[in-house]
């Protein structure tokens, strides 16, 4: 076991835990943001640099601070380690820089992007970015490629997190897409005209932190905040069959994996569940999905929903569940 202190809060974690995992165990207040790390994908993380933290004390044994900021998703804790995340001005500065880099060539086409409302880059720039841009250069564009009937690729929005490549490597049989070219010309591509299509390929949509890979069957159908997610399941031979159905009125517009509080799917789902089962009758509905209060998706939907734990303002007394039910 190792004792680690992050932003002044201490926790004891098993050896081999990363700083990021330890921070998540403490709570979302100290957990660094992530854009490329994905706990369900091996070797993910390290690329985007949004989760950089400052190690002010290496360990009990060797208390020297680490000379550079480190990627918390790829650095293991040591016993006695002390880490600064939100409390470190260096981290705040560096993170601001990373956000600026990630947005430098981003098209900012949120108004027409299906990911808007559940986009990690939106959240990141809102929380850690600047309200102004300092670049007046033309933004990078790519030749558009078609990767099949189900998945839409918008390369201009991609931040090169490599998650979709890892999904293809780790949970599908046979990878046909990857990162081609180099440097800022790098792009997700199949290189030759080819569809990304196999039983589990749809998961690239769920892991994509931005709107680079979206569900073609949901394209332009609705803003996500006008849809309402419910938990549902079905007996599926290929996957767990546990999903979120996204309703607009009575219609299922979209099926996705269920996501945890870090925005990661709990279990990967198959393409049959995702693309081919869009009738309520295909599913056993369990109930509404818990949505973080800060998410725009929660807006106006659940007048009678569980009181969010982080809601502690005394001046506004929220409706209790009982009261809500009575109302």
């Amino acid at each position: 076991m190792a004792k680690v202190t992050i932003d002044g809060r201490t926790i004891e974690v098993p050896d081999g835990t990363t700083i990021l995992q330890a921070a998540r165990m403490i709570g979302p207040e100290v957990a660094p943001p992530t854009m490329c790390y994905y706990s369900k994908l091996k070797t993910s993380g390290g690329y985007c640099r949004t989760c950089l933290v400052e190690v002010t004390k290496g360990s009990e044994k060797d208390p020297r601070p680490m000379p550079k900021l480190v990627a918390s998703c790829r650095t293991n804790v040591m016993d006695g380690m002390e880490v600064g995340n939100v409390t470190s001005p260096k981290v705040t500065e560096a993170r601001k820089g990373v956000v600026e880099f990630l947005l430098l060539n981003h098209p900012l086409d949120c108004p027409i992007c299906d990911q808007a409302g559940e986009c990690h880059l939106q959240d990141l720039s809102y929380e850690h970015g600047s309200s102004k841009t300092r670049t007046d250069f033309e933004r990078r564009t790519f030749e558009k490629i078609d990767i099949g009937e189900k998945i839409q690729l918008h390369m201009t929005r991609c931040i090169l997190c490599y998650r979709c490549v890892k999904v293809a490597n780790q949970i599908t049989d046979g990878r046909v897409h990857g990162v081609i070219n180099r440097g800022d010309h790098s792009e997700i591509s199949t290189y030759v005209q080819q569809a990304v299509d196999n039983d589990f390929s749809g998961n690239v949509i769920d892991v994509c932190p931005v709107g680079a890979l979206t569900d073609k069957t949901f394209r332009f159908k609705s803003r996500v905040w006008f849809t309402k997610p419910v938990n549902a399941h079905r007996n599926c031979e290929k996957c767990s069959g546990k999903v979120n159905l996204w309703y607009k009125g009575e219609e299922v517009l979209r099926v996705t994996g269920r996501k945890d509080q870090w925005g990661e799917v709990e279990e990967f789902i198959c393409n049959t569940c995702r693309f081919d089962k869009k009738n309520t009758s295909d599913w056993t509905v369990e109930g509404p999905t818990a949505v973080n209060r800060h998410s725009v998706i929660s807006a106006n939907h659940y007048e009678v929903f569980k009181q969010p734990t982080e809601f502690k303002l005394n001046v506004v007394k929220p409706l209790s569940i009982e009261e809500g039910e009575q109302a």
């Binding site: 993380g45 390290g46 690329y47 985007c48 640099r49 950089l52 550079k68 900021l69 990627a71 790829r74 500065e93 560096a94 820089g97 990373v98 600026e100 880099f101 990630l102 430098l104 060539n105 300092r134 670049t135 250069f137 931040i159 090169l160 990162v179 070219n181 180099r182 440097g183 800022d184 010309h185 790098s186």
Partner: protein
């Protein structure tokens, strides 16, 4: 004349061939090590020698070797980094094309020291013609029993192969090099683990520069103490310096560390002064990534003493007032050189060579190049100088591998030492563009 270790026989006719090389003491270190020394004793000599990595970082070689993990039943590897790509650096190419056997010999002796049975030389693709030279040398070494099975009847086996890259500066970074050698994109790995624990194919691996490995035969033959006597302080031994730019005698020079920078630039033995009788304006002393220094700062230390060609003296003054020995890529610029435009060539280089894996480097290097391009086009404003400064600061230290730092430092140092020139350039681009040599 200073002591020569690597290029001692450079001017011997036919030194490229096995016969001549052998006649001049070639392969003696293999014989001595295998017949009379234990592997540990060889490592000990290298430690004593004070030899430091000649690729740029200057990390003590003996210490690097001692980090190598040696689990039972797992192969270990030595990979020679011959991916020389740092702008201003061409010493390894010179050494490999002139005296290929010194590298082969160094690799055999080093492999023996670390209990390695397969070694690779990773050479940059642009040096394809040297592949032929090296492969011929290796073939000769096999034919004469220095490589293969049961070397000198000792029971020690070693295979040595050349592996050619295909154009990527980033593969000079040791983990990118290993990825490339595994047949992948040259994306640097996230460390830890370090190659000494998990390198090539996940096995313990040492990656050393050509010049580093080539110094091993002397150390084994003459002893680490003898090597340590050459040079100055912690800058033991000799260093190959690639001299280029506005000097009378560009080329590769083996210097004994500790000579003055002034002597190196102006003496007939080395660079022979600035060409066309011009004055020296600035020097990039250790390859494109190290801080550029104006003439007075490269020649003299802050205390008025002369600056020396050594790791410590070149670094004297820290990042504000000093630079680094780096790979020994010494680029001299005369009084007519535009620092802004030279910096543009560096920025363009790093943009071109960024692997694109992590965001600060991928986006930042491209951004810096665009801003410098805008300056040269005459459309920049004074605030762009500050912006450049801030971008480099946001890249430095925040990337997966040192390429980010390497791209940031030239920008930081050029602005630090030549800010007024940047301002002039921005204010009056037309006047400057009249005398410029560059048409972008």
């Amino acid at each position: 004349m200073g002591k020569k270790i690597l290029l001692a026989h450079d001017h011997v006719p036919g030194i490229q061939t096995y016969e001549v090389y052998r006649k001049h003491g070639g392969y003696n270190s293999v014989e001595k090590a295998i017949k009379t020394m234990s592997p540990e004793a060889v490592v000990e000599e290298v430690k004593k020698s004070g030899l430091r990595g000649r690729g740029g970082a200057g990390f003590p070689t003996g210490m690097k070797w001692s980090f190598l993990a040696k689990p039972e039943g797992v192969p270990r590897y030595i990979v020679c980094n011959a991916d020389e790509s740092e702008p201003g650096t061409f010493k390894d190419r010179y050494l490999m094309s002139r005296i290929p056997h010194i590298l082969v010999e160094g690799m055999i002796t080093s492999s023996f020291a670390l209990g390695v049975n397969t070694s690779y030389i990773y050479i940059r693709g642009e040096y394809f013609y040297i592949v032929n030279i090296l492969e011929k040398a290796i073939e000769e070494a096999y034919a004469n029993g220095w490589l293969g099975k049961n070397i000198l009847g000792s029971g020690y086996n070693l295979d040595l192969f050349v592996h050619v890259g295909a154009g990527a500066y980033i593969c000079g970074e040791e983990t990118a090099l290993l990825e490339s050698l595994e047949g992948k994109r040259g994306n640097p790995r996230i460390k830890p683990p370090f190659p000494a624990i998990a390198g090539l194919y996940g096995c313990p691996t040492v990656v050393n520069n050509v010049e580093t490995l080539a110094a091993v035969p002397f150390i084994v033959n003459e002893g680490g103490d003898e090597y340590a006597k050459v040079g100055i302080g912690k800058s033991a031994g000799t260093k190959l310096i690639s001299a280029s730019g506005h000097i009378n005698k560009p080329g590769v020079y083996e210097i004994e560390m500790g000579i003055t920078v002034e002597d190196f630039i102006y003496s007939e033995e080395y660079c022979g002064g600035i060409s066309n009788g011009k004055k020296l304006k600035a020097v990039v002393a250790g390859g494109s990534s190290v801080p550029i220094l104006p003439a007075d700062k490269i020649l003299n230390l802050a205390n008025g003493e002369k600056r020396l060609m050594s790791y410590e003296s070149l670094a004297d003054g820290g990042f504000g007032g000093g630079t680094m020995l780096g790979s020994g890529g010494f680029i001299a610029m005369d009084e007519d050189t535009s620092i802004v435009e030279n910096l543009f060539t560096f920025a363009r280089f790093y943009h071109h060579e960024s692997c694109g894996q992590c965001s600060p480097c991928r986006e930042g290097t491209a951004w810096m190049e665009k801003i410098l391009h805008k300056m040269i086009d005459g459309h920049a404003t004074l605030s762009d100088i500050d912006l450049l400064w801030e971008i480099q600061a946001k890249i430095e230290g925040n990337t997966i591998c040192p390429l980010g730092d390497a791209a940031a430092w030239p920008v930081a140092s050029a602005i630090r030492h030549f800010r007024s020139e940047f301002e002039e350039y921005v204010k009056n681009p037309k006047a400057i563009n009249k005398v410029t040599r560059m048409a972008v």
